[in-house]
Amino acid sequence: MINSGHGRGPDSGSNSDPFPAGLRVLVVDDDPTCLMILERMLMTCLYRVTKCNRAELALSLLRKNKNGFDIVISDVHMPDMDGFKLLEHVGLEMDLPVIMMSADDSKSVVLKGVTHGAVDYLIKPVRIEALKNIWQHVVRKKRNEWNVSEHSGGSIEDTGGDRDRQQPREDADNNSSSVNEGNWRSSSSRKRKEEEVDDQGDDKEDTSSLKKPRVVWSVELHQQFVAAVNQLGVDKAVPKKILEMMNVPGLTRENVASHLQKYRIYLRRLGGVSQHQGNMNHSFMTGQDPSFGPLSSLNGFDLQALAVVGQLPAQSLAQLQAAGLGRSSLIKPGMSSSPLVDQRSIFNFENPKVRFGDGHGQTINNGNKQMSLLHGVPTGMEPKQFAGSHMRVQQQITGVRPGQNVQSSGMVLSVADHLPRGGPSMLSSLGQQQPMFSTSVSRRSDLTGAVRNSIPETNNRVVPATHSVFNNFPADLPQNNFPLASAPGISIPVSASYQEEVNSSDAKGGSSAATAGFGNPCYDMFNNFSQQQQQHHNNKLNDWDLRNIGLAFSHQDTASASAAFSTSEAYSSSSSLRKRRETDATVVTAHGQNQQPPSRSLNHLNHVFMDGGSVRVKSERVAETVTCPPATTLFNEQYHQEDLMSALLKQEGIPSVDNEFDFDGYSIDNIPV
């Protein structure tokens, strides 16, 4: 559309598609030379440019003109504010696509951009060709939002983009465009769905219809949102209820859903980073801590804790996976080999916890109110565990870690084991979570679903599933996502057994025990769960049912099979929660074939972890998103990965791994990948 050189006439190529012309771009760079060049280039592209040399100024500009911009391009290194910080702010408050740029082309920085949600990352010197295409990010994002609304089913917040993303998901780094942020979320949910169901029409082919009016989340609106979430309980907050509580005319459920996802990601990130929400000092956080109160009440976890826990698991998972799988890609969908991997990637992106959360979520769904807390925690596995608090999760996570090495499957197993309940699902979600996590928020919900899904299958799948799972759960979650976890009475023994199993990194051994133990509790969960889930999950569950179970098995089947968790199976298959129960027992044995023992544990772990991770992210997510088996939900918000991980690790006696990719050296040998 732009002629290079002279004569850039408005008609040069813009006649065919007027849309990109007039795109309102905000450019932020402290380097005046670059700023001038960019401005010129963007004007040549027929965009409406506003340039700004300070991040704070840019933010206030954005806040003042809520709907005044379509896309933001920002430099990474700026004196007054880190570009990534700005990225987060914009993503949370304005939900605009942000492109990062820098003269620094080192992979780590690019990755950081991706994980923080940038839709693209440009290396300086920026060429005009690169700028010509930025409008696609705007389109994509809108499509996602549009899709979300299309699928009022809700858990899937962003749809359109998922599909695209899934493919590229494998390489986190490469998906700079639209991978992060909204896309991420949608994609994760998408993935789940896709994997199981199909493309759910995420991709709305008609881009033309993606002109959805964007909701600008003003500070007041956001505060209203946060208040509603807090009141409902982060884990339980469902977009629908939030919407009702907010009572804002013109606000749709989809708007709330996507915002919730973001919020969860935000929280997760906070939890992971500093564990305290207040850290960010964002509007979100103020007074957010209490928002998670409900969650915390569960087991005294608080999001932060969860975040912490979540982080750990993620990291450990990541490490495990990295180590075990040798995969660097965060998004490794392949469950089989790496449910963990997926998880890892998920974590890498967002919070490690997320992964766990998923696992938990599933279990949790079973009917723990606690879900919110449990989310992150692999409670699924042991009711006790949850009650116990992150510890369990951590333990599980640790357990998971070993699995990770092995590959996600290993993890899955461990997780599964731990999460008798949601185990399988969680695991899968864990695996899948990865893709989801990138968006963090979106992930969480997905976690439950995704975890499950991912684990058994490839991450890709999981992710979408998890989304759905979580999404489904929200409604259900309150019930008992973590029946296992939350209900001390339920399967305390079970969980314990799982843990042990997991800990021993000998999934096999453990899992069997665990399964047995869990199997029982699972039922409890399933009862609750199935009810909820079936309703919710129908679409979603499908995704993760398989996934969850599949966590360990890299395929849904396996997962379910290995569901040693039986419960996990229940979880994974959203709709078939009920079935799971029954099949759990059988499945467990059946699946066990591949990896039974390990898978189970992994599943549990996955769940556990997933939840933990995801829990951290948002308790809200749990509640609302996923009908998925509690397992995932549990972990999602509640446990900070770190906590979970550490807990798990402690139990297992494995030192927590801090570095994401440093595998702790769990022996995942048993984990059947």
């Binding site: 050189g5 002279h6 005046p32 030379t33 670059c34 001038m36 060049i37 290194h77 820098s102 620094d104």
Partner: protein
Amino acid sequence: MNTIVVGQLQRQFQDYIVSLYQQGYLDNQFTELRKLQDEGSPDFVAEVVSLFFDDCAKVINDMSTSLERPDHVDFKQVDSGVHQLKGSSSSVGARRVKNVCIAFKECCDVQNREGCLRCLQQVDYEYKMLKTKLQDLFNLEQQILQAGGTIPQVSMN
């Protein structure tokens, strides 16, 4: 309009700018910048490079201050300055300046003060040299325009 004069000036311009590319003073990014210039903004390139040189002077000065005291070097500041120079020089196509920045960054990473000082000197030299060269180029452009001619688009491959 004296076509002969214009022709001569244009050839002179062309040869000069090609030599700048060949000597490594400029690279493709400069060509891109030239493309952005048109009737609507005829002085775009001159403005941008002017901004760049001012920026260079300022950043170099700050870095010099940071590197001044041997016992108290603020490498973080130096690194930040180098990073900025690298970004802006690559954006305008100042190839030599950019290359020095790359070496400069390496010295900074290992906290080699001596190396940094050398690089600082070099970057200072390079940007001033480029400034002079581009000034000559713009003068030629002006002469062409005043003679009634148009500035040739030079494609460097």
